[in-house]
Symmetry: C2
Subunit: 522 residues, 2 copies
């Protein structure tokens, strides 16, 4: 349980019952996060409407928690092959030298991003151009928009409907939410995807600067233009995607500084990293029996998240063979053909109750791809990690655990039975990994209020106060040259230039006169 | 009461009883803040030792809350005439045009500051050179140093003793705490003393930039050198005052964003603005009778804080005459000779229970100098303010209330009976002042936990976890040219220069060859 007694159930006086909340979630693992919050909001009497894709993977249309409204499907959204294809491409990049491979991956993501924003822009345009749909939303008289801005639909729709906006956010535009909302000095704030940490040498900072410049290029030359037509037709002049995002009232950021490197932040950023974690529940009887059968050696839990559950055959064979040599038992969330090298100690399952397993006293190690949810669960329950990063932020996430001595990382593209077994044995035998993650766990749980209560408080705050305008910095509304005071700097340069010129002129004049007088005398 | 049910009394599990806390406070109004926290810490079983000046104004040597250790007196510390002298000088500045007067005041403060740091440096040197004193402190085995870094003694002593450090802070070095700890874009973050708000035009930004440059000059050429001898003799090479301040674990900042303009912040900044406020207590019978005698018109409360209680005779006469014309009753904290123009409706007192008066339902208006404590009390109790700023931050403080429509400001140097009466009537009759400050009050009280509980939580957090290193950004440790990536920028310029040079060279070569061939053919 969280190391704090400030719990929402005790907070009654300021509750706003019956707030009307419009939710535009993102599918996949992002939905897992959002749903946890929606359940809590529902239990507190709020009225929730969810916009979902007609062919969503994860978001059910029928729910006791919310009413749903279907919107047209995002093209390719249900195409899991897309991610497998991406995985193969990314794994090719991983073979390149460290300085280059992050740019290779960035380039792949840009490609995907450009396509995604085009599709999104079409979808949003079709909604804004549909007066019946818009009228229906307007008639609902929502109090706030709660959205995950990893995709842009909620942001644009919420702004169009002039709703106060609460973000449940980790990713936005070209990286982690902080990079958009807060000043991020390139010298010690690693840009997302750079695989750098906060202590950088000259080469690292050069790399980080290049990533930063590339992200500025992406923002202004790839993302913003995708929506220019929508903004021209439906918003006041000068609006762009970034300005709408920066106008959000509250940013519930799925981050925590035992995980993120400390860096500047803003008054309307609320940290809710790990909010989904709670005490582990008892396992189903069969699974409990399996855990207990591991004896003193304990259990290794392996899962690679919601997007990519299947690895190349060669890799799964190596993993299975390495597992087979462990004295531990292994439970592995697995899809596809059973590896021939599978040991007797390994149980393959199509789904597993991950938090309850990680919170089980017999669990010794978590073999994970490094998705945010899994990483926070590992921290919460204090289980050391052997990371097998595959895509997106997983490399950055695992790096954060690694530099704190709480994880080891094995690259999937170069995984062999030997190096995987070696890493497994290291993390299982060397107590420093467990000590380090348990220290992170203690710090993570040591909070004045649990992050979930914090999230709910600020959502209700936005309902009560019709947003949180007084927490929004005005700097966001300045043109970039004003923000950086370049006009003032130019003015100073001109003034100093004129002063120097005048003094030189006066000096010369005096010198000449002196010289003339001298010559005259002579 | 605070709009939240998360109260410290309910938080038992994580309490650290018996933490050993070394406190280095600042005298005067700063002590009022610190003492409130010490009482709470004492009630939670912590063991507190306070270093106090042997001739302190406010800090008693005998207390049931703490043990005190006397240190030599700060020269001139008890010299209230110093502040009266300062007041006269500042009021002269007030007559200058707006652009200039803040620089005039800044210059006066620099003068005072230079003297103050010299005295402090001598005092600190005498402590560090006293092995018996240092041994006594070391033997106490304190868990943390809790200090107000407006003066430097606690910071340097705490660092010398290698104690985790918690700041109870509003002012540090050259301005408000944020300016030291967080990135502060000059384009929308007004520098302390500039009397600017966050929406600035070109001239404002130019002024702000000049104030910023001046504060950099003060930091590096006036403050830091005062201590260079101490650092040479007692600390590792490269240490300066700023580096010690930035190494503090937790900054309990006496700020709140209903008052401060929203701006970047840092993970180890905890907002405790208004932490000293609590429900008003019943007044003494006589005072209550006076309040009730005001009938429907209510009462005006006037107090000018702890430092300057006496105004020039001419001014007090004008104030008294204006008060005499009000239908309200007036209670005025006053020292000196009774004004001849005093009305029957005005009660002069040497001391008043300010929070309880401001929280009284009959109170209609607070005539205040704009010290931080009073301003937060006005916000907490929702009482509109007529500001009479005299010194230091009071101009900036009142500006923040004024731009939010919750206060009017009258300059003491130009105060007449007429303009003061006019301002009084305006604030008393125009409901917008009350509406605005009551809106601020509602927002200020709408928090997940009361600021006092937050303060105590983070002090105990620092005790439990021996500081909060994981919340400290590493950027502070970088040299300034690295922090701003100037080395990387220089490298880029060189690379681009070389590339341009090479391309020009190659182009020329090709052109020349082409030209030669052409000439040959011809």
């Amino acid at each position: 349980m969280w190391n704090c007694i400030f719990h929402l159930s005790k907070r009654l006086e300021i509750t706003v019952f019956g707030g009307r909340i419009l939710v535009v979630p993102v599918d996949g693992s992002h939905w897992i996060n959002m749903e946890v919050i929606l359940r809590e909001l529902h239990s507190r009497g709020h009225n929730i409407t969810v916009l979902r894709s007609a062919k969503s993977w994860y978001i059910p249309s029928n729910s006791s928690v919310y009413t749903s409204i279907d919107v047209p499907m995002l093209e390719d959204e249900s195409d899991r092959d897309f991610y497998l294809d991406m995985l193969l491409k990314v794994q090719k990049c991983r073979g390149y030298p460290a300085f280059i491979r992050t740019f290779c991956q960035e380039y792949l993501i840009t490609d995907m991003m450009a396509l995604g924003h085009e599709i999104l822009a079409r979808l949003i345009a079709s909604m804004l151009d549909d007066p019946v749909f818009i009228k229906r939303l307007q008639d609902e008289k929502f109090d706030i928009m709660l959205t995950d801005p990893a995709l842009t639909m909620g942001v644009i729709l919420g702004s169009y409907l002039k709703l106060p906006m609460v973000f449940n956010v980790r990713w936005i535009n070209v990286g982690e939410g902080h990079l958009t909302i807060a000043p991020s000095p390139v010298s010690y704030v690693p840009v997302s995807g750079s695989e750098l940490h906060d202590q950088m040498d000259f080469l690292d900072r050069t790399k980080n600067m290049l990533h930063h410049l590339y992200s500025v290029y992406e923002q202004y030359f790839i993302i913003n233009p995708s929506y220019s037509d929508i903004f021209k037709r439906h918003f006041p002049p000068g609006t762009d995607l970034l300005s709408l995002q920066l106008a959000a009232d509250i940013w519930l950021l799925r981050a925590d500084f035992v995980f993120e490197f400390p860096r500047p932040t803003m008054p309307n950023v609320v940290y809710i990293g790990g909010f989904q974690c709670k005490e582990a529940q008892p396992l189903p009887a069969e699974l409990e029996a399996f855990m207990q059968s591991s004896g003193e050696h304990g259990v290794v839990v392996m899962s690679l998240g919601t997007i990519v559950s299947a690895l190349p055959r060669k890799t799964t064979e190596a993993i299975a063979a390495a597992f087979a040599e462990l004295p531990q038992k292994v439970i592995w969330r697995f899809e596809g053909e059973q590896p021939s090298s599978l040991g007797n100690n390994t149980l393959l399952v199509k789904w597993l109750p991950q938090p309850d397993l990680l919170g089980h006293p017999k669990t010794r190690l978590f073999v994970a791809h490094g998705g945010t949810n899994g990483v926070y669960e590992a921290i919460y329950y204090g289980v050391p990690v052997l990371g097998l990063p595959l895509l997106f932020d997983q490399f950055d996430n695992l790096l954060r655990l690694k530099v704190r001595g709480a994880a080891r990382v094995v690259e999937a593209y170069s995984l062999t039975k030997e190096n995987f077994l070696d890493a497994l044995k290291d993390v299982l035998k060397n107590p420093s990994y467990r000590d380090n993650i348990q220290r992170l766990s203690r710090l993570h749980r040591d909070k004045p209020i649990p992050p979930m209560d914090n999230a709910i408080f600020w959502i209700e705050y936005a309902i009560r106060n019709a947003g949180a305008a007084h927490l929004q910095a005005v700097g966001f509304k300045l043109p970039w040259y004003t923000y950086f005071c370049l006009d003032v700097a130019a003015f100073f340069v001109v003034v100093i230039g004129v002063l120097v010129w005048v003094s030189v002129f006066v000096c010369r004049l005096l010198c000449c006169r002196g010289f003339r007088r001298k010559t005259k005398k002579e």
